[in-house]
Amino acid sequence: MGSKFLALLGAIWYSILCGSQILTLVASFINADWAMRTYEVDLNIFSIREHNITYYVFAMCLIIAVSALKAFVWYVVFALLVKLKMQTPFSMEVQRRLERIAFLLLSVWLFSSFFWKIYIYYLAKDTGIQLPANRSGDEYLFIAAIVYIVSQIFKRGIEIQEENQLTV
């Protein structure tokens, strides 16, 4: 019960974060001064807007995509915990959801680390603006790999369970 609540809380938290970032992006085109004071605004990225609007929009899109993906990961974790029955935990449904979580975490890594580093490189090359490359994200690759391995072990467990059930 507690873990389900925590997962739901995570999904809601990241949804709010994603929503506020979308609001900041939209508001920055209407009223830049007001947008600067909104929740979760990154002033480093906001300063890019003065130099190059395309790079600013691209950076915001990357940040929004990461938040949206994190919200979705938490939602899938919540859905997994709802489906999970501790009496019969080995089911194909749970395995599929675990695999989906692994791929979603990989996407989080792609957007928050891989694409971000490429973005920083081109931003520095074209505009000379140096953004810090320390946006956390590399750990998502590690977690994705672990979740994927667990999902594959789960898959084998289900196969063994099925074989056992069909042994007379």
Binding site: L166, T167, V168
Partner: protein, 69 residues
Amino acid sequence: MPIIVNLDVMMAKRKMSLNELSEKVGLTLANLSILKTGKAKAVRFSTLEAICEALDCQPADILEYKKEE
């Protein structure tokens, strides 16, 4: 699967119902049904022995190998 279970043929020859066989062998109807319909992935020697004893037959009368085309 190339292994065919001829349990229904032997049961018909011995004029034995699934319920009767289930009682004699000590297997549940669900498990016997899995075996009869060919869904089983493995058969224990103890189960095979009990079925052979109940139907008075040999394992080869129940199990048959047919090459897949």
